[in-house]
């Protein structure tokens, strides 16, 4: 009390309090829907109607996860309230992992190779080709997707993994552009020393430039992983057969399969949660890196 008399009294920071309240509210709004997904996924189909307004199921169950991952027999799944003809999420999970994995590896490697050539090697037409790549960055997806669909269809690529990864696996203009800018900023001395030691261009690229570029390569790989894991439009066009569905496509189809007229919400939310889990894991393991990569994607 005596200190009050000595020190000038600081006004109560209403502004800060208000800002904290706003921030907390936004965090709550950001997390609440995800929380409800988990709650619904852990609710049995019977309890869904009686506990719709509750925040947590009275008797949490894993049956919906077992159902969507195909761990139950058709009879068991039907008894738990599913349609029994549920989409095979385990298969879709496998397809999503293959689809994303192949593209991330291929796109990062081939784009880095091209970016190195654009940054360091001299050849006729280099700058003209690079400019073409830059222009291509502006073309919206829908313009390319229709002719690409026709190309892939004519090559017999519908419902196949090669058909699904083809447009993304060799390059994206953004990946080439992004890595070229970084390679240009690298000091040339190490590369020149290696050249004088008789190293060939590929050895220099593979053993010197790539190891020095781990940060940007990781950034690019993270951005590509997130983008491809979530990609919907292209796999939706190419995967017409259940065996080729990726997770987002399987979810969309699963939603439409409503034999009783009402969506199978508990199963759907379990599938939704399964689709989101790898993203949670990525964020938990690589949190700082993911946040920084995303922040970087805005500073072109």
């Amino acid at each position: 009390m005596t200190t009050d008399a000595v020190r000038p009294r600081r006004p109560f920071p209403f502004g800060r309090l208000l800002a904290w309240l706003g921030l907390s509210l936004i965090i709550l709004i950001s997390l609440f829907p995800i929380f409800i997904v988990l709650k619904t996924a852990l609710t049995s189909n019977k309890a869904l109607f009686t506990e719709a307004a509750a925040l947590w199921p009275s008797q949490p169950t894993l049956v919906n996860f077992q159902r969507v991952l195909g761990l139950l027999s058709t009879e068991q799944a039907q008894a738990a309230g599913g349609s029994g003809s549920a989409v095979n999420f385990l298969g879709a999970l496998k397809n999503s992992v293959l689809f994303t994995g192949l593209i991330v590896i291929g796109q990062t490697f081939f784009s880095a190779l091209a970016a190195y050539a654009f940054a360091r090697l001299k050849f006729p037409g280099r700058d003209a080709i690079f400019t073409l790549f830059l222009i291509a960055m502006m073309i919206p997806g829908i313009v390319l997707f229709i002719p690409n669909f026709i190309t892939v269809k004519n090559l017999g690529g519908l419902n196949t993994l090669p058909g699904m990864v083809a447009p993304f696996i060799l390059m994206t203009p953004f990946a080439v552009f992004f890595l070229r800018q970084f390679f240009l900023s690298l000091p040339r001395e190490t590369e020149e020393a290696a050249f004088l030691d008789g190293a060939g261009p590929f050895a220099i690229f593979w053993r010197i430039t790539l190891p020095m570029s781990q940060g940007p390569l990781a950034t690019l790989a993270i951005l590509t992983t997130i983008g491809m894991w979530n990609e919907f439009f292209w796999p939706f066009l190419i995967a017409k057969d259940e065996s080729a569905y990726t997770l987002p496509v399987a979810l969309q189809v699963f939603k439409s399969q409503t034999p009783q007229g009402v969506p199978d919400w508990t199963g759907l939310m379990a599938g939704t949660f399964v689709t989101a889990v790898p993203v949670f894991i990525l964020l938990i393991i690589l949190g700082r890196r993911v946040v920084e990569s995303l922040a970087f994607s805005g500073t072109k």
Partner: protein, 306 residues
């Protein structure tokens, strides 16, 4: 002279050390990317232009129709309605999303630098738009969704959300604001970090209030980031498709048939490849205009910090 001419074939017979020229290596390095570019970017772009001048259902041979598709675009009330709905969506989506993201970025800048909080705020952006759409379809379900369960106890009562012609577009806009707000805030936050602290200190010494500092210093210096975020959001927002495909499929009563969804329907439901491609070209032109606008705006204030 003769000895020299004789020595040349001699050298040639000796196995030449294969020193690949730099040009050849360069072409080899870009070969995979060039193949990808030619087949999946350049060819489809040119082929798209070509298809847009034909009448083609994928089954029979394409029939050349000249500018008929473009003429139809101009006179198709459904195209104009789709464009109108898209603009309506963009207007619900962009202003609110940008203001919220900016407020969030300032709050982060002032209150917490915690990576953990940033991670939480970025989480919605990392989810697939299909997942996000599915989540809100369930939250806002008229019968069992928790939002309507709670609303039923208030004077507002239950709302139709996705199944109401009036509410569907604002609802879809809200869903995407939820998804993108944290990400845009992160971009603004990075922009705020780039503003030198000395500028703020100078303002504080001059006795500028918080609001004045924000209006006269933060906003002008944030303009390059602002332009970037606005234009990329605008371009993305104009191509809204996933959320519509999952939640409303263009309904109820075509109230959410946005441009890309209408293009998709023409191509893959009505098999009118020519007409669909012509409309996608028109969309392309609209987006190019946005991009050019961005370049001008960016160039116009390059000198803000100098």
């Amino acid at each position: 002279m003769t000895t020299q001419t004789e020595s040349t074939p001699l050298r040639a017979t000796a196995p030449p050390r294969r020193v690949p020229t730099q040009a050849l290596v360069g072409y080899l390095f870009i070969l995979p990317a060039i193949v990808g570019f030619l087949v999946f970017y350049l060819y489809p772009a040119l082929r798209g232009v070509q298809i847009s001048f034909t009448d083609w259902n994928l089954l029979s041979a394409p029939k050349s129709v000249g500018l008929a598709n473009y003429d139809e675009v101009l006179h198709d009330p459904k195209f104009w309605s789709a464009l109108g709905i898209t603009v309506k969506y963009v207007l619900w989506n962009i202003p609110l999303q940008t203001v919220l993201a900016l407020a969030l970025a300032v709050a982060m800048d002032r209150l917490v630098k915690s990576m953990f909080i940033k991670g939480l705020l970025i989480l919605p952006y990392l989810l697939s738009s299909v997942v996000v759409a599915m989540v809100f379809l369930w939250l806002l379900d008229p019968f069992l969704g928790i939002v309507n369960q709670w609303l039923a106890a208030t004077p507002l009562g239950k709302q139709a959300f996705f199944s109401s012609a009036e509410q569907a577009i604002p609802t879809i806009a809200f869903v995407n604001i939820w998804k993108h707000m944290g990400f845009n805030a992160l971009l603004f936050y990075a922009g705020l970090q780039a503003i030198p602290r000395t500028v703020y200190e100078a303002a504080a010494i001059d006795g500028a209030s918080e609001m004045t500092t924000f209006r006269r210093i933060t906003l002008p210096l944030l303009r390059p980031v602002m332009v970037f975020v606005l234009v990329t959001s605008l371009i993305g927002s104009f191509q809204i498709f996933d959320t519509v495909a999952v939640t409303t499929q263009g309904g109820p009563a075509d109230a959410t048939r946005v441009l890309v969804y209408y293009i998709y329907q023409n191509a893959f439901s009505f098999f009118r490849m020519g007409y669909a491609t012509a409309m996608s070209m028109v969309l392309f032109v609209i987006l190019v205009v946005f991009t050019l606008l961005q370049m001008r705006l960016l160039r116009a204030n390059e000198s803000d910090l100098e």
